[in-house]
Amino acid sequence: MKIISLLMLCYLMLILQISIVPAGIIEGSRPNLMLLVLCFALFWLRDAQVFVWAVITGLICEAFDSAIPGTGILLLTCLIWTAFRIQTHFQIRSLFSRFVLMALMAFLFDSLFQILNRLEAKALPDVAALAQHAAGNALYTAIVGLGLLIAFKIIQRLMPVDFGRGLQNSAVYESRYSH
């Protein structure tokens, strides 16, 4: 059920990224909704399936950014692996820590993705400008992600039935502190 929900969210985010986001650019910064889908997969699945989502989102990023094939998947896999290890160790549950994680991931992905894709064309932009632009995008992405997380929490509270408990696959995730 979680996978289906995530797939639907992924499709919705993809459509929004292409059709709505260009109209919502603020000072040249735009949110990366596909990265948010990957972050949500990390927060909700809490297992190794998140790497499958790294492949899916990476493919989408490459398809719509006309990037060098494979760069998106490689970058996202590396980033999500790091994030996954951090989550496993530090149990990231609060909104603030998730916000920071999303912002960091967005910043790293945006800057590294641009560097990688411009490296081949030997047209490396000014690092300071690139970092500034990536920081703007990361902040925008994190704010949108935080808004969505809050919205999901409110919707979950308002739901008469606790879907989260019923659909939670407790056999998959085991907290290292529960033993």
Binding site: Y11, L12, L14, I15, I18, S19, I20, D47, A48, Q49, F51, V52, A54, V55, G58, L59, I60, E62, A63, F64, I68, P69, G70, T71, G72, I73, L74, T77, C78, W81, F84, E174, R176
Partner: protein
């Protein structure tokens, strides 16, 4: 358990990295197929968003669009009227030219004299049901019988539509009624203050009519036929011989001589007036005439005010005397 989880994590991570490397290594033709698949998958959603945007755009636009449509419709109507006027003028000029060709131009310079009898149009209001009911009840005018107002003065027995002009204004039976340049009917009975009229769509209506054909030499009018009402917002054009070239969309004008019109009115019709457009034309095998259905340009329900064509003595001639 933890070791198993860790092992699957490493396996999946390596698989993802391997996928990335594979995509980088394989020829772009293969990787493009994957990307095209993703792009195609996003199409339905994008179409949906586009439709929503269009719908939103349409829902915010209507007042402006409606105003524009109204403006364009008015402009079109004006242009159509102007076009019809020019067509009629051209017909008149063609007729004059033909006459000149037949008779020849006089050797001396002639001076056009004033006509003794000239056409005159009287504006008349169509009376509604409530007005007719009031008159029937005798409440409209307070003079009563002492003032000489009788029911017959209004032609109230008739079931036909009424106009508020009668014999006192010089209206006579058979006079034509127009809305602009379009014929809408003719006077049936005349009372003192009101008159009843036969609309062109009524089965009792009969009038002379001709079809205008567009040729290289301009508009040309065909032979005279008889226009009769069919009683259902349409008219039929009779007595048009098979030798005439008839097409749907051709325009129908009043005939040269209206047999129904009093002789003294014939000369006042200086130019043909418009009846409507052909919507059906059929020549059954062996039939002596065309079967033509005409859609009137204006029906009675569309107008509130009409013009009655009458004939008066030229006021200029009277002043000259």
């Amino acid at each position: 358990m933890k070791r198993e989880t860790r092992s699957s994590e490493i396996k999946l991570a390596l698989l993802a990295i391997l996928t990335g490397i594979c995509l980088y290594v394989v020829p772009s033709a293969y990787s493009d197929r994957v990307y095209n698949l993703i792009r195609d998958a996003s199409k339905p959603g994008l179409i949906l968003v586009q439709q929503c945007k269009d719908w939103q755009h349409q829902s915010t636009e209507p007042p402006q669009q409606q105003a524009l449509v109204k403006q364009l419709e008015t402009k079109l109507s004006e242009l159509q009227q102007e076009n019809r006027r020019l067509e009629l003028q051209s017909l008149q000029l063609i007729a004059d030219l033909q006459q000149l060709k037949q008779t020849g131009v006089p050797s001396y310079q002639s001076q056009t004299g004033e006509r003794l009898l000239v056409p005159d149009l009287i504006e008349a209001e169509l009376l509604g049901e409530s007005s007719i009911a009031l008159m029937k009840e005798g409440q409209l005018l307070n003079q009563g019988r002492t003032g000489g107002v009788f029911e017959s003065s209004f032609v109230l027995q008739s079931e036909l539509p009424l106009i508020d002009q009668g014999a006192q204004q010089g209206i006579k039976a058979g006079y034509s009624l127009y809305a602009g340049q379009a014929v809408i009917g003719k006077i049936s009975e005349v009372g003192r203050w009101t008159s009843s009229l036969i609309p062109i769509t009524s089965v009792h209506y009969r009038g002379s009519a001709r079809i205008a054909r567009k040729t290289d030499q301009g508009l040309q009018l065909g032979t005279d036929g008889i226009l009769v009402g069919m009683g259902d917002e349409k008219c039929q054009l009779l007595q048009i011989p098979p030798t005439e070239s008839i097409q749907v969309g051709q325009e129908v004008y009043t005939g040269e001589v209206d047999r129904e019109l009093p002789l003294n009115m014939q000369s006042t019709l200086g130019q043909p007036m418009y009846y409507g457009r052909i919507i059906e034309a059929e020549l059954p095998r062996g039939a002596p005439y065309w079967k033509i259905i005409v859609e009137p340009a204006v029906t009675l329900s569309e107008v509130k005010q009409v013009s009655v064509l009458r004939q008066i003595v030229n006021p200029r001639r009277m002043l000259a005397n």
